[in-house]
């Protein structure tokens, strides 16, 4: 198992590059841990908010001696943030405990799944190469739309990205969706089901 806690001492001193390396290994696991909330909260927003909280609180984390203490802590932070957001959106309606995914709040979930997430995914050189090869075959408007998304790093609204590549917003969104589907189809031909890959 990869122990991402190797980055923890540097993260605790405020090293954002170390946090980036930790993120590269941990994000997929954290997103997967929020899957049961997907119908109730915007997981992307909850995940980003949780990661900012993890960054701010990491210096106070005392590792328990088991691997991936920061990932397990982040899973708890993300879960609590999702529950809070769900309750806020429910605006007084009762949020059924049974619907919160089972186990105690903060339960890091299935350890086997966590381990798999930390060992598989795009860090796998074979898979990365496959994805890059398929991406190289992507052309035209889908490639330009996806490239704009990648280049912006989440900092610009799609409306601005669409204008930058000379598309209407609607066309831009269609091309982002087409790019994903074309890449998924290309990977499927290589025997990879994108929906089953843990990032």
């Amino acid at each position: 198992m990869i122990d991402l806690d190797e980055h923890l001492p540097a993260i605790a001193t405020g090293d954002a590059d170390a946090f980036a390396r930790w993120l590269a290994g941990a994000e997929g696991r954290l997103r997967a841990s929020l899957a049961s909330f997907a119908a109730e909260v915007d997981v992307e927003a909850v995940l980003q908010e949780s990661l900012l909280r993890v960054w701010n609180t990491a210096p106070r984390l005392v590792p328990d001696g088991r691997p991936n203490a920061l990932v397990r802590f982040a899973v708890r932070v993300a879960r609590n943030a999702a529950v809070s957001e769900w309750r806020r959106l429910a605006a007084g309606r009762v949020v059924p405990e049974v619907a919160l995914g089972g186990g105690e709040p903060g339960d890091p979930g299935d350890p086997a799944a966590a381990e798999r997430a930390l060992e598989a995914g795009p860090a796998d050189p074979w898979l990365r190469e496959r994805i890059r090869r398929c991406h190289g075959e992507l052309g035209g408007s889908p490639a330009r739309a996806l490239g704009a998304r990648l280049g912006s790093g989440g900092l610009e609204h799609d409306r601005e990205l669409a204008a930058g590549v000379g598309m209407t917003l609607n066309t831009f969104l269609q091309n982002v969706a087409r790019a994903r589907k074309l890449l998924a189809a290309c990977l499927e031909r290589a025997g990879v089901r994108l929906a089953e890959v843990w990032s």
Binding site: G14, A16, F19, A20, R21, L23, A24, G25, E27, G28, R31, A32, A35, A38, A39, V41, D42, V43, E44, A45, V46, L47, Q48, E49, L51, L52, W55, N56, P59, E85, G121, P122, A123, L127, R128, I131, R132, H135, R149, L150, S152, G153, G154, L155, E156, H157, D158, N170, L173, Q174, V176, A177, R180, L183, A184, L194, A195, V197, W198, S199
Partner: protein, 78 residues
């Protein structure tokens, strides 16, 4: 809602761009609120696929989610 409307909303939600409220909290994408339960689950799955692709295509293995968070971190003192 037509299937095209739903597809458009799903594609919007897959963006890592999120607005902040006046207190700095990351807000849900406006399009997410317009999706029904199936659409929200579809958006989650589509986002996960896109982030997998992004990480593989990024030289540092970072997704647009990670890039957005890191930009925020680097722009503000802890």
């Amino acid at each position: 809602m037509t299937a095209d409307d739903q597809s458009r909303l799903v594609a919007e939600v897959t963006s890592a761009h999120r607005a902040r409220d006046p207190g700095g909290r990351v807000c849900a994408h406006p399009a997410w609120h317009d999706l029904d339960v199936d659409g929200r689950r579809e958006a989650f799955a589509a986002t996960r696929e896109l982030r997998t692709l992004e990480a593989a295509l990024d030289p540092e293995g970072l997704t647009t989610t990670a890039r957005a968070v890191l930009a925020r971190i680097r722009g503000a003192a802890r």
